[in-house]
Amino acid sequence: MKKQLLDQIIKNKENKSEFAIITNISNGESCIYEKNKPIDKNFEKYLEQIKNYFEKKKNGVIENTDIFVETYIRPIKVIIVGAVHIAQYLVDYAKSLNFEICIIDPRGYFATEQRFPDLKIINKWPEEAFKEIETNENSALIALTHDPKIDDPALQHALKNKFYYIGALGSKNTHENRCQRLKDAGFSETEINSIHGPIGIKLGGKSAPEIALSIIAQLVAETYKK
Protein backbone atom coordinates (compact mmCIF):
# COMPACT_ATOMS: atom_id res chain seq x y z
CA MET A 1 0.00 0.00 0.00
CA LYS A 2 1.27 3.43 -0.89
CA LYS A 3 1.77 5.91 1.94
CA GLN A 4 -0.32 8.37 -0.06
CA LEU A 5 -3.28 5.98 0.04
CA LEU A 6 -2.85 5.46 3.79
CA ASP A 7 -3.00 9.25 4.27
CA GLN A 8 -6.21 9.39 2.24
CA ILE A 9 -7.76 6.55 4.26
CA ILE A 10 -6.94 8.28 7.53
CA LYS A 11 -8.41 11.53 6.23
CA ASN A 12 -11.64 9.78 5.21
CA LYS A 13 -11.85 8.13 8.62
CA GLU A 14 -11.43 11.48 10.37
CA ASN A 15 -14.21 12.96 8.26
CA LYS A 16 -16.36 9.88 8.87
CA SER A 17 -17.02 9.77 5.16
CA GLU A 18 -17.95 6.28 4.00
CA PHE A 19 -15.58 4.43 1.67
CA ALA A 20 -13.98 1.07 0.91
CA ILE A 21 -10.37 0.03 0.51
CA ILE A 22 -9.96 -2.12 -2.60
CA THR A 23 -6.88 -4.32 -2.93
CA ASN A 24 -5.80 -6.58 -5.76
CA ILE A 25 -4.08 -9.34 -3.81
CA SER A 26 -2.44 -10.78 -6.92
CA ASN A 27 -0.49 -7.64 -7.84
CA GLY A 28 -0.54 -5.54 -4.67
CA GLU A 29 -2.38 -2.57 -6.17
CA SER A 30 -4.93 -0.76 -4.04
CA CYS A 31 -7.28 2.19 -4.18
CA ILE A 32 -10.20 3.85 -2.42
CA TYR A 33 -13.79 3.44 -3.56
CA GLU A 34 -16.31 6.14 -2.71
CA LYS A 35 -19.93 6.14 -3.72
CA ASN A 36 -20.64 8.22 -6.82
CA LYS A 37 -16.96 8.89 -7.47
CA PRO A 38 -14.90 7.44 -10.32
CA ILE A 39 -12.75 4.47 -9.38
CA ASP A 40 -9.07 3.89 -10.26
CA LYS A 41 -9.03 2.58 -13.85
CA ASN A 42 -7.23 -0.62 -12.82
CA PHE A 43 -10.33 -1.61 -10.86
CA GLU A 44 -12.98 -0.38 -13.28
CA LYS A 45 -14.00 -3.83 -14.45
CA TYR A 46 -14.89 -4.87 -10.89
CA LEU A 47 -16.94 -1.73 -10.19
CA GLU A 48 -20.36 -3.42 -10.11
CA GLN A 49 -19.16 -6.12 -7.71
CA ILE A 50 -17.39 -3.58 -5.52
CA LYS A 51 -20.58 -1.49 -5.38
CA ASN A 52 -22.51 -4.56 -4.37
CA TYR A 53 -20.12 -5.31 -1.48
CA PHE A 54 -20.24 -1.68 -0.40
CA GLU A 55 -24.05 -1.54 -0.38
CA LYS A 56 -24.21 -4.75 1.64
CA LYS A 57 -21.46 -3.53 3.99
CA LYS A 58 -19.55 -6.71 3.21
CA ASN A 59 -15.84 -7.29 3.67
CA GLY A 60 -14.05 -10.01 1.74
CA VAL A 61 -12.56 -11.28 -1.48
CA ILE A 62 -15.02 -10.96 -4.38
CA GLU A 63 -15.86 -14.44 -5.69
CA ASN A 64 -13.67 -15.70 -8.54
CA THR A 65 -11.42 -12.64 -8.37
CA ASP A 66 -8.35 -11.46 -6.46
CA ILE A 67 -10.10 -8.30 -5.30
CA PHE A 68 -10.37 -7.71 -1.58
CA VAL A 69 -12.94 -5.18 -0.35
CA GLU A 70 -12.98 -3.63 3.10
CA THR A 71 -15.84 -1.26 3.80
CA TYR A 72 -15.88 1.65 6.21
CA ILE A 73 -19.49 2.37 6.99
CA ARG A 74 -20.81 4.63 9.71
CA PRO A 75 -22.29 2.81 12.70
CA ILE A 76 -26.02 2.22 12.77
CA LYS A 77 -27.99 4.93 14.50
CA VAL A 78 -30.39 3.80 17.18
CA ILE A 79 -32.91 6.30 18.40
CA ILE A 80 -34.49 5.55 21.73
CA VAL A 81 -37.68 7.39 22.54
CA GLY A 82 -38.26 7.52 26.28
CA ALA A 83 -35.43 7.99 28.75
CA VAL A 84 -36.93 5.33 31.00
CA HIS A 85 -35.29 2.72 33.24
CA ILE A 86 -35.06 0.14 30.42
CA ALA A 87 -33.27 2.73 28.28
CA GLN A 88 -30.46 2.94 30.81
CA TYR A 89 -29.68 -0.75 30.31
CA LEU A 90 -30.25 -0.54 26.56
CA VAL A 91 -27.66 2.18 26.31
CA ASP A 92 -25.03 0.00 27.99
CA TYR A 93 -25.69 -2.93 25.64
CA ALA A 94 -25.91 -0.76 22.54
CA LYS A 95 -22.63 1.01 23.31
CA SER A 96 -20.63 -2.18 23.60
CA LEU A 97 -22.22 -3.40 20.34
CA ASN A 98 -21.03 -0.25 18.54
CA PHE A 99 -24.42 1.26 17.79
CA GLU A 100 -24.61 5.04 17.76
CA ILE A 101 -27.27 6.07 20.23
CA CYS A 102 -29.47 9.08 20.68
CA ILE A 103 -32.30 9.52 23.19
CA ILE A 104 -35.40 11.61 22.69
CA ASP A 105 -37.65 12.52 25.59
CA PRO A 106 -39.52 15.78 25.99
CA ARG A 107 -39.88 15.10 29.70
CA GLY A 108 -36.83 16.88 31.07
CA TYR A 109 -36.88 15.09 34.41
CA PHE A 110 -36.33 11.73 32.67
CA ALA A 111 -33.68 12.59 30.13
CA THR A 112 -31.01 14.09 32.33
CA GLU A 113 -27.29 13.90 31.80
CA GLN A 114 -26.94 12.41 35.23
CA ARG A 115 -29.02 9.40 34.18
CA PHE A 116 -27.36 9.16 30.77
CA PRO A 117 -23.80 10.45 30.91
CA ASP A 118 -21.90 11.04 27.63
CA LEU A 119 -24.94 10.57 25.45
CA LYS A 120 -26.80 12.67 22.95
CA ILE A 121 -30.09 13.53 24.61
CA ILE A 122 -32.71 15.66 22.95
CA ASN A 123 -35.26 17.14 25.35
CA LYS A 124 -37.84 17.83 22.67
CA TRP A 125 -40.98 16.32 21.20
CA PRO A 126 -40.15 13.81 18.44
CA GLU A 127 -41.28 16.08 15.56
CA GLU A 128 -38.81 18.73 16.68
CA ALA A 129 -36.10 16.29 17.77
CA PHE A 130 -35.96 14.49 14.40
CA LYS A 131 -35.10 17.80 12.73
CA GLU A 132 -31.78 17.60 14.56
CA ILE A 133 -30.91 14.00 13.61
CA GLU A 134 -30.11 12.65 10.18
CA THR A 135 -32.03 9.40 9.73
CA ASN A 136 -32.49 6.92 6.88
CA GLU A 137 -33.00 3.22 6.16
CA ASN A 138 -29.89 2.54 8.28
CA SER A 139 -31.58 3.86 11.40
CA ALA A 140 -33.44 1.99 14.12
CA LEU A 141 -36.16 3.20 16.47
CA ILE A 142 -36.94 1.85 19.92
CA ALA A 143 -40.05 3.47 21.36
CA LEU A 144 -40.29 2.97 25.10
CA THR A 145 -42.71 5.52 26.56
CA HIS A 146 -45.93 3.65 25.58
CA ASP A 147 -47.45 7.11 25.64
CA PRO A 148 -49.12 7.75 22.25
CA LYS A 149 -48.38 11.46 22.52
CA ILE A 150 -44.65 10.73 22.45
CA ASP A 151 -44.29 7.33 20.73
CA ASP A 152 -46.74 7.81 17.84
CA PRO A 153 -45.05 10.77 16.13
CA ALA A 154 -41.71 8.96 16.41
CA LEU A 155 -43.17 5.76 14.92
CA GLN A 156 -44.68 7.77 12.08
CA HIS A 157 -41.33 9.40 11.35
CA ALA A 158 -39.57 6.01 11.39
CA LEU A 159 -42.14 4.45 9.04
CA LYS A 160 -41.96 7.36 6.61
CA ASN A 161 -38.17 7.26 6.57
CA LYS A 162 -38.08 3.46 6.20
CA PHE A 163 -36.07 2.63 9.32
CA TYR A 164 -34.88 -0.98 9.08
CA TYR A 165 -35.92 -1.69 12.64
CA ILE A 166 -38.86 -0.23 14.50
CA GLY A 167 -39.90 -1.57 17.88
CA ALA A 168 -42.46 -0.32 20.35
CA LEU A 169 -42.87 -1.29 23.97
CA GLY A 170 -46.32 -2.13 25.30
CA SER A 171 -48.71 -5.00 25.86
CA LYS A 172 -50.61 -6.73 23.05
CA ASN A 173 -53.59 -4.47 23.77
CA THR A 174 -51.49 -1.34 23.74
CA HIS A 175 -50.00 -2.46 20.46
CA GLU A 176 -53.38 -3.21 18.87
CA ASN A 177 -54.58 0.28 19.75
CA ARG A 178 -51.36 1.69 18.39
CA CYS A 179 -51.82 -0.16 15.10
CA GLN A 180 -55.35 1.17 14.80
CA ARG A 181 -54.14 4.76 15.31
CA LEU A 182 -51.47 4.30 12.63
CA LYS A 183 -54.05 2.82 10.29
CA ASP A 184 -56.27 5.85 10.88
CA ALA A 185 -53.28 8.04 10.13
CA GLY A 186 -53.08 6.38 6.70
CA PHE A 187 -50.28 3.83 7.08
CA SER A 188 -50.59 0.57 5.16
CA GLU A 189 -50.91 -2.85 6.75
CA THR A 190 -47.42 -3.84 5.55
CA GLU A 191 -45.94 -0.74 7.13
CA ILE A 192 -47.76 -1.31 10.40
CA ASN A 193 -46.79 -4.98 10.47
CA SER A 194 -43.14 -4.07 10.14
CA ILE A 195 -43.26 -2.67 13.67
CA HIS A 196 -42.01 -5.09 16.29
CA GLY A 197 -44.69 -4.95 18.96
CA PRO A 198 -44.72 -6.08 21.65
CA ILE A 199 -41.02 -5.37 21.32
CA GLY A 200 -38.20 -7.87 21.89
CA ILE A 201 -37.62 -11.59 21.52
CA LYS A 202 -39.19 -13.93 24.06
CA LEU A 203 -36.72 -14.56 26.87
CA GLY A 204 -39.23 -14.79 29.68
CA GLY A 205 -37.63 -12.11 31.84
CA LYS A 206 -39.54 -9.17 33.27
CA SER A 207 -36.88 -7.03 34.88
CA ALA A 208 -35.59 -3.89 33.15
CA PRO A 209 -32.18 -5.34 32.17
CA GLU A 210 -33.88 -8.51 30.89
CA ILE A 211 -36.32 -6.55 28.74
CA ALA A 212 -33.43 -4.44 27.46
CA LEU A 213 -31.57 -7.64 26.57
CA SER A 214 -34.56 -9.03 24.67
CA ILE A 215 -34.84 -5.77 22.70
CA ILE A 216 -31.16 -5.53 21.86
CA ALA A 217 -31.10 -9.21 20.81
CA GLN A 218 -33.95 -8.53 18.37
CA LEU A 219 -32.21 -5.43 17.07
CA VAL A 220 -28.95 -7.33 16.44
CA ALA A 221 -30.82 -10.17 14.69
CA GLU A 222 -32.64 -7.69 12.42
CA THR A 223 -29.39 -5.85 11.72
CA TYR A 224 -27.77 -9.00 10.38
CA LYS A 225 -30.87 -9.81 8.30
CA LYS A 226 -30.56 -6.49 6.46
Partner: protein, 109 residues
Protein backbone atom coordinates in the same frame (compact mmCIF):
# COMPACT_ATOMS: atom_id res chain seq x y z
CA UNK B 1 -20.97 -5.01 15.11
CA UNK B 2 -17.77 -3.74 13.63
CA UNK B 3 -17.09 -0.05 13.81
CA UNK B 4 -14.17 0.50 11.47
CA UNK B 5 -14.08 4.23 12.13
CA UNK B 6 -13.13 3.71 15.76
CA UNK B 7 -10.29 1.28 15.11
CA UNK B 8 -7.00 3.09 15.18
CA UNK B 9 -4.55 0.52 13.78
CA UNK B 10 -3.99 2.37 10.49
CA UNK B 11 -3.38 5.61 12.39
CA UNK B 12 -0.84 3.72 14.49
CA UNK B 13 0.84 2.44 11.32
CA UNK B 14 1.10 6.05 10.18
CA UNK B 15 2.76 7.04 13.47
CA UNK B 16 5.30 4.22 13.08
CA UNK B 17 6.13 5.40 9.56
CA UNK B 18 6.59 8.96 10.80
CA UNK B 19 9.07 7.50 13.30
CA UNK B 20 11.01 6.07 10.32
CA UNK B 21 10.03 2.47 10.90
CA UNK B 22 9.26 0.04 8.12
CA UNK B 23 5.69 -1.18 8.45
CA UNK B 24 3.89 -4.23 7.12
CA UNK B 25 0.10 -4.31 7.28
CA UNK B 26 -1.39 -7.78 7.85
CA UNK B 27 -5.11 -8.11 7.09
CA UNK B 28 -7.44 -11.10 7.46
CA UNK B 29 -8.95 -11.38 3.97
CA UNK B 30 -10.71 -14.75 4.14
CA UNK B 31 -11.89 -17.15 6.82
CA UNK B 32 -13.32 -20.66 6.66
CA UNK B 33 -14.97 -22.55 9.49
CA UNK B 34 -14.62 -21.06 12.93
CA UNK B 35 -12.02 -18.36 13.17
CA UNK B 36 -11.34 -16.03 16.04
CA UNK B 37 -11.17 -12.71 14.16
CA UNK B 38 -13.36 -11.56 11.33
CA UNK B 39 -12.39 -10.50 7.83
CA UNK B 40 -10.81 -7.05 7.92
CA UNK B 41 -9.01 -7.61 11.26
CA UNK B 42 -5.55 -6.13 11.18
CA UNK B 43 -2.15 -6.10 12.77
CA UNK B 44 0.94 -4.07 11.96
CA UNK B 45 4.54 -5.27 12.26
CA UNK B 46 7.81 -3.35 11.98
CA UNK B 47 11.28 -4.52 10.93
CA UNK B 48 12.19 -5.31 14.55
CA UNK B 49 9.18 -7.56 14.99
CA UNK B 50 7.22 -5.15 17.22
CA UNK B 51 3.53 -5.58 16.49
CA UNK B 52 0.14 -4.14 17.34
CA UNK B 53 -3.39 -5.38 16.68
CA UNK B 54 -4.30 -9.03 15.94
CA UNK B 55 -5.37 -11.39 13.19
CA UNK B 56 -6.34 -14.33 15.42
CA UNK B 57 -6.77 -15.05 19.08
CA UNK B 58 -3.01 -15.34 19.52
CA UNK B 59 -2.77 -18.59 17.49
CA UNK B 60 -0.83 -17.38 14.46
CA UNK B 61 0.54 -13.96 15.41
CA UNK B 62 4.11 -15.22 15.90
CA UNK B 63 4.15 -16.73 12.40
CA UNK B 64 2.67 -13.56 10.90
CA UNK B 65 5.39 -11.48 12.58
CA UNK B 66 8.06 -13.80 11.10
CA UNK B 67 6.56 -13.54 7.62
CA UNK B 68 6.32 -9.75 7.89
CA UNK B 69 9.99 -9.42 8.88
CA UNK B 70 10.73 -11.75 5.95
CA UNK B 71 9.06 -9.56 3.35
CA UNK B 72 10.80 -6.44 4.72
CA UNK B 73 14.19 -8.23 4.44
CA UNK B 74 13.48 -9.56 0.95
CA UNK B 75 11.94 -6.21 -0.02
CA UNK B 76 8.79 -7.89 -1.30
CA UNK B 77 5.82 -5.53 -1.62
CA UNK B 78 3.12 -8.05 -0.67
CA UNK B 79 2.38 -11.71 0.12
CA UNK B 80 -0.65 -13.86 0.90
CA UNK B 81 -0.36 -16.55 3.56
CA UNK B 82 -2.84 -19.14 4.76
CA UNK B 83 -3.14 -20.93 8.03
CA UNK B 84 -4.91 -24.25 8.09
CA UNK B 85 -5.11 -27.11 10.52
CA UNK B 86 -3.61 -29.33 7.83
CA UNK B 87 -0.57 -27.08 7.44
CA UNK B 88 2.81 -28.64 8.11
CA UNK B 89 3.30 -25.97 10.70
CA UNK B 90 0.08 -26.93 12.45
CA UNK B 91 1.94 -28.32 15.42
CA UNK B 92 3.54 -25.00 15.89
CA UNK B 93 1.03 -22.33 14.99
CA UNK B 94 -2.17 -23.91 13.61
CA UNK B 95 -5.52 -22.58 14.65
CA UNK B 96 -6.67 -24.60 17.62
CA UNK B 97 -10.27 -23.73 16.80
CA UNK B 98 -10.08 -25.75 13.59
CA UNK B 99 -10.65 -22.73 11.40
CA UNK B 100 -8.66 -21.49 8.46
CA UNK B 101 -7.65 -17.96 7.65
CA UNK B 102 -5.93 -16.18 4.79
CA UNK B 103 -3.84 -13.15 5.69
CA UNK B 104 -2.62 -10.56 3.20
CA UNK B 105 0.67 -8.85 4.03
CA UNK B 106 1.66 -5.58 2.40
CA UNK B 107 4.46 -3.13 2.98
CA UNK B 108 3.51 0.52 3.26
CA UNK B 109 5.90 2.57 1.14
Amino acid sequence: MKNSFDEKILEEANDWIKANQKVVLATVIQTWGSSPRQVGSRMIVNEKGDFSGSVSGGCVESAVVRECIGIIKDNKPFKKIEFKVSNESAWEVGLACGGEIAVYLEQIN
